[in-house]
Symmetry: C2
Subunit: 267 residues, 2 copies
DNA sequence: TGGTATATTTCATAGAATGAAACTCGGCAG
DNA sequence: CTGCCGAGTTTCATTCTATGAAATATACCA
């Protein structure tokens, strides 16, 4: 099973880990966009532990609302406690507070979807999204994660990382369902270099056709790229001719925001 | 410690629970809006277990990004994994999908904040929020939870529960920081009865001054109230004179939505 | 009715999780 | 400079918890 690798790769060197807790987290991580509902047996098979053990883990998680059980069908889903906790986790991300006014401003000016993302385990994780007010728009939302190497949000961070780190992300493609386009090593490096030269990342239908996006990196005061700000929209509104203007304007906002971030110590 | 009661109240009858996992969940639940960042010793004191144990639990949680550690100060916060999982948990709530178009419609029509909430452990938990497009608005957001008995969202559900169940919620005020106004048993029951007669719940500065809101219940096909739809805004725009109109219009939408929900089997 | 697939309970045993204590590290004050 | 203090980390023997096999229960379908 692909999953077992995942478990080891995640830095689980098994020393100093509590096995029962690790397994409970495995149970939670079973649920994903493809399989949002699972029964006990399915979970047991996926993580390869005895169903009796899974039963006890699920009971423990359910009591605290980390999973909920469909009373009709008996399948388990992720619980409301996660939503509640996510709210707490996200409210206290400093960069979010600082970027929000800029995101609103960009959203009002361009009327397209604005994404604030970080790099999390090789994937672009959207910390915050302000949706385009227009009818045709991207349906991205907070908490969603997409492969970093094929989104403007992800590439804006990767390009300013040391090249070996960025490559490591490309190599460890433990994305649950592999997207159609994983670039070659060379194409990827070339893209990264052009992005650095340009100052902003570009994504023209990299992951999904019909979507264009530009992104700029946001840096911690020590210079490491920690997040990215991106504008994304349907290709017909963000044509290749116009996208350059978007990128350059985003760059100005990015610079201003980065100046501000320099003054903030702990991010 | 108040906390220990909490632990028992949560239905932790200790049979069929995995202790290590329970403790790990205790660690996660330590973090809240008041104390978003904690160090190991603080956590150890809060949940009353040995710091060596907490150390191992935190290490396990950190490896999987359920908590993250500030590299400077060493304090722990909730991790990004929770945001990611919340996205999954929330994407698959049937009622959310069905209510969303109605919420958008209400938002466009009234230009106020629209809340979709459920009752979760005696608190109103916002499944989804569409913010008012106006400058002055409520800053509520998805995942936030507020005391059920003092919000329109909460009361819209409570009023259609059996009275003893609703009272149980009032009694078990294990809200982390008690809001200024907990109604008396009588006032609460009277409010519930009026709400039922009226068809929609009202909240005029119940929790916070300057906020007015109205809410209607949403029912499962078997008739149990499972969620509520509410319009909330600053008092000066939602005056007591106008609020009746809001309520009655919301009622129409609520009825329509409830007809739709009857056709959906599993919620 | 019997058969299958799933969930739940029971129980003896292994070994995992635990907490005491020792150790490390860094900061601070005398 | 040195020694104290608080916080975090590691070690290790012991206990009792978590485990999986098997038995039982439940639900569904033929």
């Amino acid at each position: 099973m692909d999953y077992l690798n995942n478990q080891e790769e995640n830095g689980n060197d098994s020393s100093n880990s509590v096995r029962a807790v690790d397994r409970a987290l495995d149970v939670l991580l079973c649920f994903n966009a493809q399989t949002p509902a699972l029964n006990m047996t399915q979970i047991s098979e996926r993580i390869g532990i005895h169903k009796s053990t899974v039963h006890r883990l699920l009971a423990t998680l359910e009591r605290r609302n980390f999973v909920r059980r469909d009373p009709e069908t008996g399948v388990y889903r992720l619980g409301y406690r996660l939503l509640q906790m996510a709210y707490l986790s996200q409210e206290n991300i400093g960069i979010r507070q600082i970027a929000l006014p800029y995101m609103r401003m960009l959203n009002e000016k361009y009327r397209e979807t604005i994404d604030l993302a970080i790099l999390d385990n090789g994937e672009a994780l959207f910390l915050d999204v302000i949706q385009s007010p227009q009818r045709v728009k991207l349906a991205s939302s907070m908490g969603q994660h997409l492969p970093a190497f094929s989104t403007a949000s992800g590439k804006a961070i990767l390009a300013w990382l040391p090249e070996e780190e960025a490559l490591a992300v490309l190599q460890n493609t433990n994305i649950s369902f592999t997207p159609n386009i994983v670039p070659t090593r060379e194409a990827f490096l070339e893209d990264m270099r052009e992005t650095r030269k340009r100052g902003y990342s570009l994504d023209c239908e990299g992951l999904e056709t019909g979507i264009h996006a530009v992104g700029v990196p946001l840096f911690r005061s020590d210079g490491t790229p920690i997040a990215s700000l991106a504008i994304a929209g349907p290709a017909f509104r963000m044509e290749c001719s116009k996208i350059q203007t978007f990128g350059e304007e985003l760059l100005v906002v990015g610079n201003e925001l980065n100046e501000l971030l320099k003054l903030v110590p702990n991010l």
